[in-house]
């Protein structure tokens, strides 16, 4: 089974749609997007989720950079 999630990456101001196999976690999404989890926090419906949080079909995820802008 594959599921689809929409992810918004704030640092790049970019929205992506990602297909993931099995019962994926946030960490799987990070791997797929090649994002180092140390550098972001992740939210769904305005609530933070951890790296082992399960993703569901049609989830809308926000990936927020923790990096200071200078």
């Amino acid at each position: 089974m594959t599921i689809k999630v929409k992810a918004y990456i704030d640092r790049e101001n970019r929205k992506v749609e990602v297909e993931l196999k099995g019962s994926p976690k946030v960490s799987d999404l990070m791997k797929k997007l090649k994002i180092n989890p140390v550098t972001v926090i992740v939210s769904r419906n305005n609530e933070l989720i951890l790296e082992d949080g399960m993703l569901k079909n049609n989830d809308e995820i926000r990936i927020l950079s923790v990096i200071s802008g200078g």
């Binding site: 704030d10 640092r11 101001n13 180092n36 989890p37 140390v38 550098t39 926090i41 939210s43 609530e47 933070l48 989720i49 951890l50 790296e51 927020l64 950079s65 923790v66 990096i67 200071s68 802008g69 200078g70």
Partner: protein, 315 residues
């Protein structure tokens, strides 16, 4: 290990999983502990908080504001520097102003354009230097000068664990231990009327923790990055550190904790006794003329010479 039955929203590098309420308490507790451990505040302070409008400085401002409301002997105000970086600083300053208005904090804004006659953007058109080099020199200069004018006893900044970690490594990789002697949670080797001590209450808070706190407390603005930051040496060191942190959790804490043990020795080796002052502007410096005056002079000369530069003959 979970803190309680509520849903965890943060996991620390050593495996503690915290809910929203316990995370807020954890971060604030860490800041207060840092303040006590490194004696960042005295009983009475007229404290300035240097803010940019970013999550780090707003976090430190909001926590210190709360502290000052509980303790009338700690007075606080905010200072922001407008370097003049089009499309970036104007936006973060609007956030800063909005935050201060909402929380009833007096905000003083000082700009390069007004103080030096040129914005950073204009300076960079005249001089061929790394943006962050002159940006940092002029910012530190103005912050110290204005803090004295405002009669501040100390200046708090939003520097976090990641910032410090980057600075420590950068100084090592450039063999600049003298600069490292000026790091630490409390900057300013001696209490001196020429130099307003700077304190870093977020010293032991990782950037991810600060961002989490800012998110939970609605202080996280849309992502904003200085257009000059991408090329910086610091950005490369930061990325390298984050790769190491991902593989070896706790790396950043280890670097900063070992640095804290070394710091007294560095300070002793590089302490220069009384602070020297610049012969032109009387601001503290290590040479005869301070870096700000050196660069201002170069800017002036370059600006003049470029105006009178003869035009090519075939023109």
């Amino acid at each position: 290990m979970n803190c309680c039955n509520n849903k965890p929203i943060f996991e620390s590098y050593d495996g503690n999983r915290l809910c929203k309420i316990h995370f807020n308490a954890y971060l604030e507790g860490k800041v207060f502990k840092t303040i006590r451990q490194f004696e960042l505040l005295d009983k009475e302070e007229n404290l300035g908080v240097a803010i940019s409008g970013g999550k780090d400085s707003l976090t430190v401002l909001s926590i210190l504001k709360r502290l000052s409301m509980q303790n009338p002997n700690i007075k606080i105000c905010a200072i922001a520097i407008d370097e003049g970086i089009a499309g970036y600083r104007d936006r973060t300053l609007a956030t800063a102003q909005e935050f201060c208005d909402k929380n009833n904090i007096r905000l003083h804004i000082f700009s390069y354009k007004e103080e030096f006659g040129l914005s950073l953007d204009e300076m960079l058109k005249i001089l061929n230097v790394k943006p962050c080099t002159i940006c940092g020199i002029f910012r530190r200069y103005l912050l110290n000068k204005k803090s004295k004018e405002l009669k501040l006893t100390k200046l708090a900044t939003g520097h976090n664990l990641d910032d410090e970690c980057q600075s420590i490594l950068m100084n090592q990789m450039r063999n600049d231990m003298k600069a490292s002697a000026r790091l630490g949670p409390k900057v300013g080797m001696v209490q001196d009327e020429k130099f307003v001590q700077r304190i870093k209450p977020l010293y032991l808070c990782a950037e991810k923790e600060v961002t989490t706190y800012a998110f939970l407390n609605r202080m996280l603005d849309s992502f904003n990055e200085c257009p000059n930051a991408i090329h910086s040496y610091r950005a490369q060191v930061r990325d390298m550190l984050n790769v190491m942190e991902q593989k070896f959790l706790g790396t950043k804490y280890s670097i900063v904790n070992s640095f804290i043990q070394m710091l007294p020795m560095l300070k002793e080796k590089f302490s220069c006794g009384a602070i020297k002052v610049c012969s032109r502007c009387s601001e503290p410096c290590s040479k005869d003329i301070c870096n700000a005056c050196v660069y201002l002079e170069r800017l002036k000369n370059k600006a003049v010479s470029s105006l009178i530069e003869p035009k090519p003959l075939n023109n």
